[in-house]
């Protein structure tokens, strides 16, 4: 009896068909998104680049920066009671709901998550960062620190350095604009608010320029 032997074509056909069936059977979601490993998240958390200070946010709000998107991760009831101007509500419990993914996973806006303190917002940040979403940040100190620094700023001691005063003036003005306590008119000629370094939204890895044209 003649031993059956595969021709190269049959061999190739069998191999690529089986591989094709395997890859077709894998659900799409596991093949495409690029997620961050625990190591990478830890590295980012150690560097703390996700934290933004209230002064920066206040400045952006006053200037009406169109790229700022505040996201309140507290429950809807608390959001209804008080929220920062222009903030939208994505309750922590529904963070992974598909309704909100287009807001969290995008390249245009600078999302700033906040809660009452830092912790809850930071937990939310960790979760979505793990999914590989960029351009998300955390408001340091949350609403509590916001009220303390922006809405009710304390005048610095007379011996403080100049930039302390500058910051105080700015906070005082921002407080007025953002609906804080006592509104004090800004004195003309007072030092302009110190420019606060603004974090650049993280650049995505640049795709390769290829092609043969």
């Amino acid at each position: 009896m003649k031993k059956f032997q595969f021709t190269p074509r049959q061999m190739l056909s069998v191999v690529i068909l089986s591989l094709g069936i395997i890859i077709a059977a894998v659900p799409k979601d596991t093949t495409t998104p690029y997620k961050l490993s625990a190591d990478q998240i830890l590295e980012e958390m150690k560097s703390g680049t996700q934290y933004l200070y209230p002064d920066l946010i206040a400045q952006m709000l006053v200037e009406g920066d169109p790229t700022l998107q505040l996201i309140d991760v507290r429950p809807p009831a608390e959001y209804e009671k008080y929220h920062l101007p222009g903030a939208i509500n994505i309750p922590f419990d529904e963070l992974l709901s598909s309704d909100y993914q287009y807001l969290l996973n995008q390249d245009v806006m600078m999302n700033v998550l906040y809660a009452n303190g830092t912790t809850r917002a930071n937990e939310a940040w960790m979760l979505i960062r793990q999914l590989g979403y960029d351009n998300n940040y955390v408001l340091t100190g949350g609403l509590n620190y916001w009220v303390e620094t922006i809405l009710n700023p304390q005048a610095p001691a007379t011996s403080s350095p100049d930039d302390e005063f500058a910051r105080y003036d700015f906070r005082k003005a921002a407080s007025g604009a953002l609906g804080g306590g006592a509104v004090a008119p800004v004195e003309q000629g007072s030092t302009a608010p110190a420019a606060i370094p603004r974090p650049r939204p993280q650049q995505k890895k640049q795709a390769v320029q290829g092609g043969c044209s």
Partner: protein
């Protein structure tokens, strides 16, 4: 994580050196497959030798499967790999012109380089023609600029275009290729040619 050059695993200059080595592999395999012979290449259009079809589709399928599996294992970031842009009209018209050039000249650019290195004079003439063609395109650019730029569709993937999973799309291509290979070997038996 691949691609290495994007993830700074290799530098820009190393990347250019790698291009040279990749080219060596490319040229070596094309020549080994017999792509340095214009009559062998043209054979696919008359059924007597389907080596072009076999090599071309096998390579495209291996490339697609490789990228999908590597992406599945998390070894490659597909989002930064270059996907060729699609300008609908120029892709079609350019392809039609290239098809005519293929059947008349018997080579495509890559194979003509291979054939020229082993002494095919027709390939050297073909390369000369190619330089002339590119030069004509550059000189007369304003005349065909509108066609060149028309109907820009971005960088779409064909699987997205049809709204199906990439894996399923590959499987469809594989099934089509397996049927074509079968048909091609049948044609090779039906229209045999002596050695050329």
């Amino acid at each position: 994580m691949a691609p290495f050059v994007v993830y700074d695993i290799i530098s820009e200059n190393t990347n250019l050196l790698m291009a040279f080595f990749i080219g060596i592999g490319f040229g070596f395999i094309l020549e080994q497959a017999g792509f340095s012979s214009s009559r062998k290449l043209a054979g696919v259009f008359y059924g007597y030798d389907a080596v072009v079809l076999k090599v071309f589709f096998t390579a495209a399928i291996v490339g697609m499967l490789g990228l999908l599996f590597f992406s599945l294992f998390g070894w490659v970031d597909m989002s930064v790999i270059y996907v060729n842009e699609t300008y609908l009209y120029s892709a079609i018209v350019g392809g039609v012109i290239m098809g005519a050039g293929f059947i008349m000249g018997g080579y495509c650019p890559g194979t003509s380089f291979c054939a020229a290195t082993i002494g095919k004079i027709d390939a050297i003439v073909f390369i000369g023609g190619m330089f002339l063609g590119v030069f004509i395109f550059g000189e007369g650019y304003p005349l065909w600029k509108n066609l060149y730029m028309a109907e820009f569709m971005g960088f779409p993937k064909i699987s997205e275009f049809f709204g199906i999973n990439e894996g399923i799309f590959v499987l469809l291509v594989i099934v089509a290729a397996v049927l074509m290979f079968w048909g091609a070997e049948w044609a090779e038996k039906k229209f045999p040619r002596e050695e050329y």
